[in-house]
C-alpha cells in the first residue's frame, strides 16, 4: 500500500484539503446536507448567492429536469447578508473547511458594498463574485457578458475587500477568454466557471414555459463537454488558478477538469443526483492517483497530453 497521495491545493491563498467543493446554490448554506456527508471532508464550502438584503426569488416552478441536466431559475432567493453573517456563519465556522461566500448584486456599487460588509467576517475564507447569473433581469447578465462592465465590477469589489476574490464566469459568450482576461486584469485572484447556459423548457401539455420565470439556467452532465472546453481555454489564457465546474457527477468528470487545467472543481447538480457525490469524487481522485502512481494531485492539474 503506497502512501496516501497529497490532494491539497491552494487557490488564491485559500488552503483546501482537496480540490472538491460544492457549486454555489447547490449546497444551500451547508446545513441542509450536513446529515448526508461530513462537511469537514470537503475542500471548501461555497454557499448560495447572498445579496445585501433579503431576496424573495422567482415564482415557481423554479427547477425542471432536462435531458442529462436541469434548468433552474431560483432568482437569488436568500435571507440577505446580515442573516447570512449572524445565522449561517456560526454553523459553518464549526467546520475545519474554508467557507467561500458567493455574492450577487445589480450594480457595481451593490457588489462593492456587499463585499465590504463581508470583509473581516470571522471564518470567511474568500469571496466568489456571481457576475453571471442569467436569472435576474437587471444588471446580472450584462456584467457577465461585457468585459468592460466586468472590469468595473471586479475593480470595485477588489477595492472593497482584502479577501481572496474568485470571479465566476458565464458561458453565454462568444469568447470566454476575453472575459477571463478582463477579470484577471481587474484583480481577480481566481476564476471559476461555468455558470449556467440560458435556456428554456416548454410543457407541451399546457403549451407554456415550464419555469415560472420563463428562462432558466442549464447545468449538469449535459453541459460538461462545453464546460471542459471553456475551462481548458481559460486555464491557458490566464495565470490565476481556475475552478472548473459543469456536470461533475463522478470522479472521472472531476479528473477531466483537472487535466484540462482546473486547480479545483465544484459539484452542482451532481449533489442532487447523489448527495454524497462530492465524497465519491474525492475518494475517486485519490484512487486514480494511487492507481496511476502519482503522489500529488498537482500532477493531474493541466496534465492533458495534446501532442
Amino acid at each position: 500500500m503506497p502512501n496516501k497521495p497529497n490532494l491539497s491545493v491552494n487557490i488564491a491563498g485559500i488552503a483546501m484539503k482537496n480540490p472538491v467543493m460544492p457549486a454555489s446554490g447547490c449546497f444551500g448554506f451547508g446545513e441542509e446536507y450536513a446529515p448526508y456527508l461530513d462537511l469537514n471532508a470537503l475542500g471548501a464550502i461555497v454557499v448560495k448567492s447572498v445579496t445585501m438584503n433579503e431576496t424573495v426569488g422567482n415564482p415557481g416552478p423554479r427547477v425542471c429536469e432536462t435531458p442529462g441536466g436541469m434548468l433552474n431559475a431560483i432568482g437569488w432567493q436568500n435571507p440577505g447578508a446580515d442573516v447570512f453573517i449572524n445565522e449561517k456563519m456560526p454553523f459553518l465556522r464549526q467546520f475545519n473547511t474554508p467557507v467561500i461566500v458567493n455574492l450577487a448584486g445589480k450594480t457595481a456599487s451593490d457588489y462593492a458594498e456587499l463585499a465590504a460588509r463581508l470583509d473581516g467576517v470571522e471564518g470567511l475564507a474568500g469571496i466568489e463574485l456571481n457576475i453571471s447569473c442569467p436569472n435576474v433581469s437587471e444588471g446580472g447578465v450584462a456584467f457577465g457578458t461585457d468585459p468592460r462592465l466586468a472590469d468595473e465590477v471586479v475593480r470595485a469589489v477588489r477595492a472593497a475587500t482584502k479577501l481572496p476574490l474568485i470571479v465566476k464566469l458565464s458561458p453565454n459568450v462568444t469568447d470566454i477568454t476575453v472575459m477571463a482576461r478582463a477579470v484577471e486584469g481587474a484583480g481577480a485572484d481566481a476564476i471559476s466557471l461555468i455558470n449556467t447556459f440560458t435556456a428554456i423548457a416548454i410543457d407541451v401539455k399546457t403549451r407554456r414555459p415550464v419555469l415560472g420565470n420563463f428562462t432558466g439556467g442549464l447545468s449538469g452532465p449535459a453541459v460538461k463537454p462545453v464546460a471542459l472546453y471553456m475551462t481548458y481555454r481559460v486555464a491557458h489564457a490566464v495565470s490565476v488558478p481556475v475552478i472548473g465546474m459543469g456536470g461533475v457527477l463522478r470522479a472521472e468528470d472531476a479528473i477531466e477538469f483537472l487535466l484540462a487545467g482546473a486547480s479545483a472543481v465544484a459539484v452542482g447538480m451532481g449533489t442532487f443526483v447523489n448527495p454524497t457525490a462530492m465524497i465519491d469524487v474525492i475518494d475517486g481522485i485519490e484512487r486514480y492517483l494511487v492507481e496511476n502512481n502519482m503522489d500529488d494531485v498537482h500532477q493531474l492539474i493541466g496534465g492533458l497530453i495534446t501532442d
Partner: protein
Amino acid sequence: MKMECTVTGARLVARDVAAMTVRAPELAAACEPGQFAHIYCGGGVYSLTRRPISISKVEGDELGFLFQIKGEGTRWLAQRRPGETVDLMAPLGKGCYRLPEQGKVYIAAGGIGYAPVIFLAQRAAARGLDARMFVGARDSGSIYCLDEMEKLGVPVEVATEDGGLGERGFVTAPLEHAIQADKPDLICCCGPEPMLRAVARLGRTYGVPVQVSLEQRMACGVGACKGCVVPVKGRNGVHYRNVCSDGPVFCGEEVFFDAE
C-alpha cells in the same frame, strides 16, 4: 438518510399504478405521514434527478410506495423486482400531517393523492381517532387498494367522475355532505390542486382546519436549492417556502390565500 433498500414486493394495482414495498427498518421506525422519499430512478437521459414519492404505508420493517407510472422515472421504478435495491433519501419533509390527540378526522384523496393518506389513515386508526376516508377518481379503474381501509376499519366513500364506482362527480360533494352532517375537527387532503383548493374552501366555509399536501418539481429534496417553492401567506406577508423541507403538508389557509 440515504440508503439502498431491498425491494420486497412490486405489483401493478391499476393500469398505471404500481405498489412497491422495501425493507427499511430505521426508516419504518422514523417516518411520519406526509413525508416522502427522494428516489433514484435509474439515471436515464430523462430521469437523472431523483423522484419524490410519498411514504404510502408502514408495516413492520417495511415501507410501502404507491405511484402512478407517468414518465421515464416512475416507469423504471415500476420495473424493479424483489431482491433488487433502490436508492432512496428518506424520510424527507418536516411539514407532515398533524393529527389531533383525539376527535374526528376526514381524509380526502383524489387520484394518486390516495398514496400518502393510507399511511395517515394507519396512524389515525392506531391513535383511535374517528377517521373517515373520501376517495375520488376519474373512473373505477383508478380506484385501488381500498382493502387497506377495510383492514384499518376506516369507512370509505368513493366518487368517480364517470359514476363507475360510488357517487358520480367530484369527491368534494360527499365530503361536503359529511361535513354538514357531522363536522370534523380536521380535514386532511391530498390530490390535484383544484381539489386541494376546493377542500380548503370547504374548510373555510365550515370553519374546519384543513391540511393539504402539495407537489412541486424538486431538485435536492432537502431544502438546499430553493427549487420547490410555493408562495405562502405568513404573518409578514407572502413569501416562498419549500415544499420539500417546509412541507409537503401545509395548512390550507397558508397556501390557498388567493383562493377566491
